[in-house]
Amino acid sequence: MTCVVHARGLRYRYPGHHEALRGIDLRITHGERVALLGPNGAGKTTFMMHLNGLMMGEGSLEVAGLQVAKNTLQRLRARVGIVFQDPDDQLFMPTVREDVAFGPLNMGLDTEAVHARVAEALGKVRMAHVVDRAPYQLSMGERRRVAIATVLAMEPSLLVLDEPSANLDPRARRELLEVLESIDRTMLVTTHDLPLAAELCERAVILAAGQIVGDGPCHEILADAELLAAHDLELPAGFDLGAIERRSRPLAVPLFPR
């Protein structure tokens, strides 16, 4: 198994602030779906921003076969797709089509290939019908799925999602989960939504105060009430982890897209 993310002693300090990452060691292998859990301010987003070089800290970080450094940025960004928390930050072009085309065009693909990628990516998130709409005309759930399409169109090796279920109603969340389950990419999902993590990911990593404090199979981590409580995480009251596992496990790592 090849490594998609390999961090060794990764540290980052915000100028004039506290140290946000305090020595992260993490390996994510190809095909894994990893939930990155942790309370607010734990460094989840900071770590995510390191994965495609939006931030650069000390230590060594290799992502998708590239050492994160100034000279690899352009190639790195084609291989790492980050879906940001607020789709309004991600969708900045006047129409959905242009927005999904933005990444592939920056990669230097020709128009025909770009059109094909746009159609394919929107198809994967079941949003092909909104291709000519403007982002502000879409619902939150639709915007989030289009935001995912904008990075899928770049065919990244690693898909990083920041709080994908934030601000979604139950139905939009369910649809998003179905879409994510059908995408066969290595995935890193930062979230507070533990049921989502349980359904989607087979591995969970807990980040607290810039350090990894828990790493293991998702159902084991989520079953460890003490560990969760120590880091301000909790499952919804009455949540049955067992029921989730049985339903989602066969879908967790599909070899082929549906």
């Binding site: 352009q74 960004r77 940001f84 607020d86 006047p94 242009e98 059109h115 502000y136």
Partner: protein
């Protein structure tokens, strides 16, 4: 406030028959054609009033071909026109010359009235021309036309982001205002405008940090300073014909008038 903004924003879309000959023109042709109507009208003095008539006729014909209903145009024009016209209303009382008309407290002068009429005609033609562009061309298309016509890229980019985030910001202002009102804020005079000012400050900070996040999202997808274009614009024979026809008509009237 948000109600008003939403109302105004509804007026930004296309109107008329989207498949009409005018709608299908290359956006550059429409920008050049309608802009030159405005420029020629603005450049003509009142003595050359036939130029105004021809410019107005060009706009009427374009609107008719595009099947834009007068009501649709009027709803857009009335947002801007009062502000423009109000400038001209005072001129008759300020500009002296020619016959005078006594209106009790005020005295109007003939020269002033002429200037007022000319300003009004120019304002009406310019505003209708812009509104017609808006009803027949989507804003992204106008932006692309401007970019292709060598308007500085930075300005086009700023306009594009303004358009994209206008809706987001209007929603945000609406939410902040609801939050103010639901805590009993009910301003009755200027001294109570403080919270509005602080709201504007908060708005500025929010848009600033959003700008930063959007830029990050752009970088994450490989942005390197150049906005990529998906489909190239195509300037065809119909477009050339439209531009040539409009320019020939209005310029010939303008130049003939100036020569006479």
């Amino acid at each position: 406030m948000s109600g008003l903004c939403n109302h105004s924003l509804e007026l930004t879309g296309l109107a008329g028959d989207p498949d009409s000959a005018i709608h299908r023109l290359d956006p550059r042709a429409k920008v050049i054609g309608l802009l030159s109507v405005t420029i020629v009208a603005v450049s003509a003095p009142i003595e050359l009033w036939p130029v105004y008539a021809v410019c107005a006729a060009v706009l009427v014909v374009c609107a008719a071909v595009a099947r834009v209903r007068p009501g649709d145009l009027w709803r857009r024009v009335r947002v801007v026109l009062p502000f423009v016209l109000v400038l001209g209303v005072f001129v008759p009382f300020v500009r002296e010359g020619g016959a005078t008309y006594d209106l009790g407290l005020l005295t109007a002068h003939e020269a002033g009235v002429q200037v007022c009429l000319a300003v009004s005609a120019k304002a009406i033609i310019g505003t209708f021309s812009a509104a017609l562009l808006g009803t027949t061309t989507t804003f992204p298309q106008v932006l692309r036309a401007l970019e292709a016509l060598r308007v500085p890229r930075l300005i086009v980019l700023i306009a594009a982001f303004m358009y994209r985030y206008l809706f987001v910001i209007v929603e945000e202002v609406g939410r902040m205002r609801s939050a103010l009102v639901s805590r009993g804020y009910n301003p009755r005079h200027m001294l109570q405008a403080g919270p509005m000012g602080r709201m504007a400050t908060a708005m500025f900070l929010r848009t600033y940090s959003r700008g930063e996040r959007v830029y990050h999202a752009m970088l994450a997808r490989g942005y390197n300073g150049v906005m990529p274009q998906l489909t190239p614009l195509a300037f065809g024979r119909a477009d050339a014909l439209f531009v040539a026809g409009v320019l020939t008509l209005i310029l010939s009237v303008r130049i003939a008038g100036a020569a006479a």
